[in-house]
């Protein structure tokens, strides 16, 4: 954290709360959560189900807004943004990686990776869509699989396509929600190695998982329980 002091944090949460109203009952999913995440960090968020980690993920992903408190992503307070502005923020600043890959069926790897560019408000990037997508696919080691559709790819390859898709708009932050949940151990290791490589070249990655083995690849661990951060530490044996 000290290393990034010169730069504004990629994610800055201050006294975040999120309360859902389920009929008569108010569910406090997050209670007074504050933290900063800086550029190049590789953070794992862990916690049992119902702990509030998914809520936190949705907030960081600009898919939802906090009940109270401030959450700045790349300096923009998401509480002040309307739906369209949130969509644009997600498009420009965030890259999502999901457990189930969420690739479009019967659509080539290249076209899947290009998809976020279709929603870009930057015509110059749109025009270079195929070039940017091909570049990202090469980075994740799928230069020879660009024309393959998801059903012709293994799980690990599909997840790499999804990572290339997350990277295509040069985001500030990658959000990975159980990215290895549907993969075998060996493939999981490959995917985690890819994330490590990305953070080494300056990308910020936030990972939600409940597997300690997976979390061990990260360099910082945020443990969430009952809507609070109960632990925020460097992962043992790894420099923060």
């Amino acid at each position: 954290m000290d290393g990034g002091a010169a730069q504004a944090p990629v994610v800055s949460a201050r006294n975040l709360t999120k309360t859902y109203q389920l009929g008569e009952v108010a569910v406090h999913a997050l209670r007074d959560v504050s933290f900063d995440i800086h550029r190049g960090e590789f953070v794992a968020i862990m916690g049992p189900s119902g702990s509030g980690k998914s809520t936190l993920m949705n907030l960081i992903g600009a898919l939802d807004t906090p009940t109270t408190g401030a959450l700045a992503i790349n300096g923009a307070d998401i509480a002040t943004l309307d739906k369209d502005q949130l969509a644009d923020l997600r498009n420009r600043t965030l890259g999502f990686v999901f457990q189930q890959f969420n690739l479009l069926a019967r659509t080539s790897a290249l076209d899947n990776v290009k998809l976020p560019l279709a929603y870009s408000r930057d015509p110059a990037r749109q025009a270079r869509g195929s070039e940017l997508a091909a570049q990202r696919l090469t980075e994740v080691g799928l230069a020879d699989r660009m024309d393959h559709v998801p059903s012709q790819l293994s799980g690990g390859q599909q997840q790499r396509v999804a990572i290339a898709r997350a990277l295509v708009n040069s985001p500030s932050l990658i959000l990975a929600d159980e990215p290895t949940g549907a993969l075998d151990t060996q493939t999981s290791g490959e995917i985690m190695a890819l994330f490590e490589r990305l953070t080494e070249s300056g990308m910020t990655v936030i990972l939600v998982t409940h597997e300690p083995d997976v979390a061990a690849h990260a360099r910082r661990l945020l443990r969430v329980r009952d809507g609070r951060i109960v632990e925020d530490r460097a992962v043992a044996g790894r420099p923060v």
């Binding site: 949705n58 992903g61 898919l63 939802d64 739906k83 369209d84 969509a87 644009d88 997600r90 498009n91 420009r92 999502f96 999901f98 189930q100 969420n102 479009l104 069926a105 019967r106 659509t107 998809l115 976020p116 279709a118 929603y119 870009s120 898709r165 708009n169």
Partner: protein, 409 residues
């Protein structure tokens, strides 16, 4: 997202479910096709009738003697005193707006002989102004002039059909033919006019009306009788007003008291046209109603499938939102899909309808006319159906919560 992107995305989505897309748009296809076929046949028929009516002559009035009313007993058609050359002159010279007038006195069953060829046709005695009145140019030779028309000259002008039947390609001009055993010299051949009301207008021989009176028609009601009076009205004049003036002149000449009915009939082809237009308007409304019903039914099918599609693709919608699609992008995408589905259906229906119409035209010899207006309306209507019935599903898609959509199983 640009419109081109929307269309590309929609085409991919529609292709993924080819059979379903096809079945979904079947309602639109059938609706548009049936409208195209029906309107093709309907407007073909009315166009044919309009052409026929205008070939009979527009701005033309035909006056017949009507039924006589003697002591309360009404005689049949034509039982009233005949029209005469004096009536004709009174109308032509006494009514403003009459450009030309001709009597017409016919024999519908005259036998014509040339050498060993013979033909039975209609022989009509007409005045010299008939060319103007009926707008019927001569193809070869000439018409008889006013003096010849009045002097009983034995001249004949042949209709195209008669010329073909009797002369089979030889030059008829100057030849003598026998009509009901009287020799007539052929001085002209008329241009072709075609069918009207199921009758071949070219199957006719025109002769001077005076000759018809003395040679071809039996007993006459008056020495200068004309069977009917054809009047050409100057198009700068109001047809109805001229008609009223003629009526007044004739009532006066025939001494019809102010409280008595006319004993003559004035027929106006414009009225025919009017009636015809009224009929085709009714037909048009009926077609529009049929089209509207089938398009609504088709549209409901589209809406149904689009709702299913939105549900099936909830995760895809969630993903698109997560990677930066705005609500309006999702709305546009699904709306484009619905409109495209309808447009493709409309175009297929158009093709199918045109094909069936052409087939009917070929098999039954019906005149078929597909107006460009109908084509444009059909396309616009299909697109509108897409927008109207695609809106609800598209709206639902765009209003999805991305978090829930991503979690949707």
């Amino acid at each position: 997202m640009s419109v081109i992107e929307y269309i590309k995305t929609a085409l991919v989505a529609l292709r993924l479910n080819k059979l379903r897309s096809m079945l979904t748009t079947l309602g639109i296809i059938i609706g548009v096709a049936s409208v195209i076929v029906m309107s093709g046949i309907g407007s073909g028929a009315s166009k044919q009738i309009e052409d026929q009516i205008s070939s009979l002559g527009t701005n033309q009035l035909t006056i017949f003697p009507g039924s006589a009313n003697v002591g309360g007993r009404r005689g049949g058609f034509g039982s009233a005193p005949p029209l005469t050359e004096k009536d004709l002159r009174a109308v032509r010279d006494g009514v403003a707006g009459v450009m030309a007038a001709s009597g017409e006195l016919g024999n519908n069953n005259a036998s014509v002989v040339l050498g060993n060829a013979n033909w039975t046709t209609q022989v009509q005695g007409v005045g010299a102004e008939i060319e103007l009145v009926r707008e019927w140019p001569i193809a070869r030779g000439r018409y008889f002039d006013a003096r010849e028309a009045a002097s009983g000259a034995k001249f004949g002008v042949l209709g195209a059909t008669v010329a073909r039947e009797l002369f089979a390609g030889a030059d008829p001009l100057g030849t003598t033919i026998r009509i009901n055993n009287s020799p007539f010299q052929v001085i002209g051949v008329l241009s072709e006019k075609g069918q009207a009301g199921g009758r071949d207008q070219d199957d006719v021989i025109l002769v001077p009306i005076s000759t018809a009176r003395s040679r071809l028609v039996g007993r006459l009601g008056a020495p200068d009788q004309i069977g009917s009076l054809l009047v050409k009205v100057d198009p700068r004049y109001n047809l109805a007003e001229v008609q009223a003036d003629i009526e007044r002149v004739l009532r006066d000449r025939r001494r019809i008291g102010p409280d008595k009915d006319n004993n003559f009939i004035i027929r106006n082809f414009a009225e025919f046209l009017e009636t015809r237009n009224q009929a085709s308007k009714t037909l048009g409304l009926l077609l529009a109603a049929t089209a509207a019903i089938s398009l609504v039914v088709g549209g409901i099918g589209i809406m149904n499938i689009m709702l299913v599609s939105v549900t099936e693709r909830t995760r895809e919608i969630g993903l698109r939102m997560a990677i930066g699609a705005r609500g309006s992008d999702i709305l546009g995408q699904f709306l484009t899909e619905a409109v495209l589905l309808c447009l493709v259906g409309g175009l297929i229906g158009l093709g199918l309808g045109a094909g069936v119409a052409a087939g009917l035209a070929g098999i039954f010899g019906w005149p078929v006319y597909i107006s460009p207006v109908v084509v444009l309306v059909a396309i616009a209507a299909s697109a509108t159906v897409g927008i109207v019935f695609g809106y609800v599903p598209a709206r639902r898609a765009s209003a999805l919560n991305p978090i829930e959509a991503l979690r949707y199983e």
